[in-house]
C-alpha cells in the first residue's frame, strides 16, 4: 500500500503528463501483479463496491478525531473532499503496518456483511496504523470516487511504456467487462481469449471542436458533413446473436434500451455500430430532455418506452463480418455502413442512418449549420473522407462544429464553494433575471471563468455576503454574467419555469450593472423561440 500511496502522491503532485506516465510506468515495474491489476482497475474507474455508508464513516472519523459532527461537516466544506477530510482530521499516529493494496481491498470487501460495530472497529483500527497519505488513499478506496487526474489514455500510455505492447491494442483489451476477480494481470493484458471478447467494445473516437472557420480544414471535397445529433453516444455490438450497448462512459447499458433487443437477430454476427441513441417518435427526433427523463430511471417501464422511445442513428461501422475495419478510410466504412443499415431496414425501425448533409462549399455548410436548432441538433459533424477511425480524442479526422450558444445576461445571487481543485473558493454560482422588481433564480453555472476571474469573484463573495446557509452564501446582487447555453426547456421544477442545457459563464459583463441584466420575459421569449414545440 505504501508503494501505491506513493504513486497516488506522485500523480497528485504533478500536472505534467510526462511525469505522470513515468510514475505509473515505474509503479508497473515494481508492484506485484495482483496489485498492478487493482491499480489498473482503480485508475480506469473500476472501484470495489462501497461496503460502508458514508454517513457512518463521517461519524467514526469525527469521533476518532474527538470533534463534534458539525465541525466535521464544516471542515468537509472547506476541504471539498470527503476522503481527504477524514484523513486530515485523524490524530497523528506512530504505529505502522505495510500491507499490499490487494490486501486492503480484500479487507474492505470482506466487511460487506459485517455488523456496523465490527465495521467501525475494523476501519478505525486501520486508520491508526497509517500515515496521512496512506489514510487518504485508503479512504478513497472505501468511499469510491477514485480520481487522480489520470485519463485512461495516460494509463494506457504508461502500460505501453512498461510492457512494450502497442497502445491501441492495450486500450482495446482494457475495455469491456472485466474485474480483478475474473482475470489476472497476464491474462488481461497479454492473452487473447476470444470467448470473453464477445461484449468488448472499441474505444470511442472523439472529435475536437472547430475553433475558427471551417475553411482552415482545407478543401470541402475532402470532407463529409452530418448533423450533430443531440442524444447519447452509443456503441451497438452484435456478436453471435448477442447484443451489447455501450455508452461513451464505458458503461454497459444494454438493459436500459430494450428497444434494441430485436437487432441481435437482425444484424449479422460481428457487427459493431457507432451512433447516437436518440428519442424518436413519428419519424422525428424529440428533444434531449425527453431522453433525460428515462436515463436516470432504474427500471425501464412500459410507460417510459411509450413516452420516450429511442432509435440508434448510426454514423459509423467499426466491425464488419467480425473484422475490425477501423483502419479503413471514412468513405469506405460509410459505404459498408449504408449497406448494413439498408439490409436491416426491412426488419426494424430502430436503426436509422445518420444522413450526410451535401454541400459544395463552406458557405453552403454555414447555412446548413444555422438550421441546426430546427433539426433539434447541436450543430454539424465534419469527417475527413480518407481518415481512419481513431482512438480517443485525436485531432484530424473528426470535428464538431456546434451552433453558437444562446445567451442571456444574469445577476449572481448565490455562491457556493467548489470541490476538489476548487475547494475553499467560491466557484459555483446561482443566477437570476429580473421579474419586475424581483430577481428570480433560473440556473446555476460553474465553468467558463479564468482562474484570475474566479479569484476576483471569490473575493467579491467574501466581502458581499448577505447571509450564509451552510456552504452557500447569498451575496449582494451586483455582478452580471453572460450565461451561454445549448438549449432551453419548460420546467415545472424551477420557479423561473425554464431549464437550461449546459449553462456556463460566457463572459463577465463588468461593463453592466445589475439593473441592466435581462428579464424573465426575455428568458421566456427565448423559450418560445427555441424551446420544444410541444407543451408538456
Amino acid at each position: 500500500m505504501r508503494r501505491f500511496a506513493q504513486l497516488f502522491t506522485e500523480l497528485d503532485q504533478t500536472t505534467k503528463t510526462l511525469q505522470k506516465v513515468g510514475a505509473m510506468a515505474d509503479y508497473f515495474q515494481e508492484a506485484a501483479d495482483q496489485d498492478k491489476l487493482w491499480a489498473i482497475a482503480l485508475l480506469s474507474g473500476r472501484r470495489p463496491k462501497r461496503t460502508i455508508r458514508t454517513n457512518l464513516l463521517k461519524e467514526w472519523a469525527a469521533e476518532s478525531a474527538g470533534i463534534p459532527f458539525w465541525l466535521f461537516e464544516e471542515s468537509y466544506h472547506i476541504v471539498g473532499d470527503l476522503a481527504e477530510t477524514m484523513a486530515a482530521i485523524h490524530p497523528a499516529t506512530n504505529q505502522h503496518t505495510d500491507r499490499s493494496l490487494t490486501d486492503w481491498i480484500d479487507t474492505i470487501r470482506n466487511l460487506r456483511d459485517a455488523e456496523d460495530d465490527a465495521k467501525k472497529a475494523a476501519i478505525t483500527a486501520v486508520w491508526s496504523t497509517m500515515d496521512a497519505t496512506e489514510r487518504l488513499v485508503f479512504n478513497k478506496l472505501i468511499t469510491g470516487g477514485f480520481r487522480v487526474g489520470v485519463s485512461q489514455k495516460l494509463m494506457v500510455r504508461a502500460l505501453a511504456k512498461y510492457s512494450g505492447t502497442e497502445e491501441n491494442v492495450l486500450a482495446h483489451r482494457l475495455m469491456g467487462e472485466w474485474s480483478p476477480d475474473n482475470t489476472t494481470f497476464q491474462q488481461l493484458l497479454f492473452e487473447e481469449n476470444p470467448k470473453d471478447q464477445l461484449s468488448r467494445p472499441y474505444p470511442f473516437y472523439l472529435a475536437y471542436a472547430v475553433e475558427g472557420q471551417p475553411e482552415e480544414l482545407g478543401a470541402p471535397a475532402d470532407w463529409l458533413a452530418e448533423r450533430k445529433w443531440d442524444g447519447i453516444r452509443g456503441q451497438l455490438i452484435v456478436r453471435e446473436n448477442q447484443l451489447f450497448v455501450w455508452s461513451r462512459g464505458e458503461e454497459l447499458v444494454t438493459d436500459k434500451f430494450p428497444e434494441f433487443g430485436e437487432l441481435a437477430d437482425i444484424l449479422p454476427s460481428g457487427t459493431v455500430l457507432d451512433g447516437e441513441i436518440l428519442p424518436f417518435k413519428e419519424g422525428a427526433p424529440l428533444s434531449f430532455q425527453v431522453l433525460q427523463t428515462r436515463i436516470g430511471r432504474k427500471n425501464v417501464t412500459a410507460g417510459i418506452l411509450k413516452k420516450a422511445p429511442v432509435v440508434l442513428v448510426a454514423y459509423d461501422l467499426l466491425e464488419h463480418n467480425g473484422e475490425d475495419i477501423r483502419h479503413k478510410p471514412q468513405v469506405q466504412r460509410r459505404k459498408l455502413l449504408e449497406q448494413v443499415v439498408k439490409a436491416a431496414s426491412d426488419c426494424t425501425s430502430k436503426l436509422l442512418l445518420s444522413e450526410t448533409v451535401s454541400f459544395n462549399d463552406w458557405e453552403q455548410l454555414k447555412i446548413e449549420r444555422s438550421k441546426s436548432r430546427e433539426y433539434l441538433c447541436e450543430g454539424l459533424m465534419l469527417k475527413k473522407k480518407d481518415a481512419p477511425y481513431g482512438v480517443g480524442r485525436k485531432k484530424g479526422g473528426w470535428w464538431k462544429w456546434k451552433v453558437d450558444p444562446l445567451t442571456i445576461d444574469a445577476v449572481m445571487i448565490y455562491a457556493m464553494r467548489g470541490h476538489g481543485i476548487r475547494a475553499n473558493l467560491y466557484t459555483d454560482y446561482t443566477f437570476a433575471v429580473w421579474d419586475g422588481e424581483k430577481l428570480v433564480s433560473f440556473t446555476k453555472a460553474y465553468s467558463g471563468l479564468t482562474d484570475a476571474e474566479i479569484r476576483k469573484v471569490d473575493t467579491f463573495v467574501k466581502r458581499n455576503t448577505i447571509d450564509r446557509f451552510g456552504p452557500v452564501r447569498s451575496v449582494n446582487p451586483e455582478l452580471v454574467f453572460e450565461i451561454a447555453f445549448e438549449g432551453i426547456n419548460r420546467s415545472t421544477r424551477h420557479k423561473s419555469g425554464v431549464a437550461l442545457r449546459f449553462p456556463r459563464m460566457h463572459r463577465w459583463r463588468q461593463d453592466k450593472s445589475a439593473a441592466e441584466a435581462n428579464t424573465l420575459q426575455d428568458l421566456h421569449d427565448l423559450l418560445n423561440a427555441y424551446g420544444p414545440p410541444d407543451a408538456p
Binding site: 500536472t15 463534534p68 473532499d81 475553499n424 473558493l425 450564509r468
Partner: protein, 342 residues
Amino acid sequence: MQLLQFTERGIYCPQADVYIDPWRPVGKAIITHGHADHSRPGNRHYICHTHSEQVIRARLGQDIQLETMGYGETFTINGVRFSLHPAGHIIGSAQVRVEYKGQVWVASGDYKTEADGVCAAFEPVKCHVFITECTFGLPVYKWPAQETVFAAINSWWAKNQADGKVTVLSGYSLGKAQRLLQGLDTSLGTIFTHGAIHNMNHVLRESGIDLNPTTLVTPEMNKSTFKGGLVLAPPSALGSNWQKQFQPFSEGIASGWMGLRGPRRRRAVDRGFVLSDHADWDGLNEAIAATGAEKIITTHGSTNVFTKWLREKGYDATAESTEFEGELSEIKEGNQKQEEQE
C-alpha cells in the same frame, strides 16, 4: 467600558487612546509585526518591538515617528500598562498585553506555537480576554514537525540537482523566507535570492540578525551560475518572466495552505511543503488554554467555525471582523500582503 474595542480604524484602547495594528490612519499605533496587513502607513506615531523597527521603516519610510521596546518592557498611558511578548510568528513579532485596573487583555496579532529557531518562541501570557487569529482554525490543519518538512525540502533540492534542475522555492519575503533560509542545508549549494527577499534579509542583517549566506540574483548573471542552486522567491515571482531564467527548474511553495490538496493543485507547482508561521488547530487550542482566559475574541481566518467550537468548549467566545489576512497571499489568494513584494 471595554478595555479594547473593535472600531472602523482598528483595535482601540479608548482609555489610552492607542490602537493596535490599525487599518486606517490613527494617532498612536502599537504594531505587532511588520507584515503589510498589520503595519500600515499613515499613522502619526508607531510603537513596535526592536527587531521590527528596520523592517517597518524600510516599508513605511525612514522618517516615520517610531519608538521601540524589548519583550517584557512596559510603558503606561493614562493608567493603562502596555507590554510586548513573543508571538513566534516572524522576527520581531509580538503579542500586546494591555492591563488596566487589574483587567488584562492580550491582542496576539499573528502567532505560531512551534519554536522555529529563527524568531523568539511564542510565550503564553495569562489574561482575562485573549484576542486570537484563527487563520487555520479547522481540525484539518495539522502541521507536520518542521524537521520532517525541511528534510523533504532538502532532499527535493538534492533530487533537482541530480536531474539538472534549478530549485525555486517560494515564501513571503518577510518571515517565511528567513525561516526557509535557516532550515536549508547550505552544504548542498548556493542559495540565491530574489530582490524583495534580498532587501528584507539586508534590513534584518543590519538589525543584527544572523542569517545564512545568500547571493542576490542580478540581471548580468549567466544562466550557468544557477546550476545546482536554490532560489528563494516571493509568491508574486512564481510564473513571472523573471523566473524563466532558471529553466529548467522545479518549483515549490512553502505554506500552511499546502496541507490541503485543493489549493496545492490549484497552484499547480511541482511541490507544496506544509510550513506555516501561523498556529495549526492544535496550536490554537493549546495557546488559548494556556492564557487561562475565559473570554476569547477571534479575528481573521475560520472565525465563525472556530468561535462556535470555542463556545461549545465553554469559552465566552465572539468573532470580530478585521482587515487582517493571515497567509492567503502566500498562495496568491489574498489581496494585501502581496504589495510588499512588488
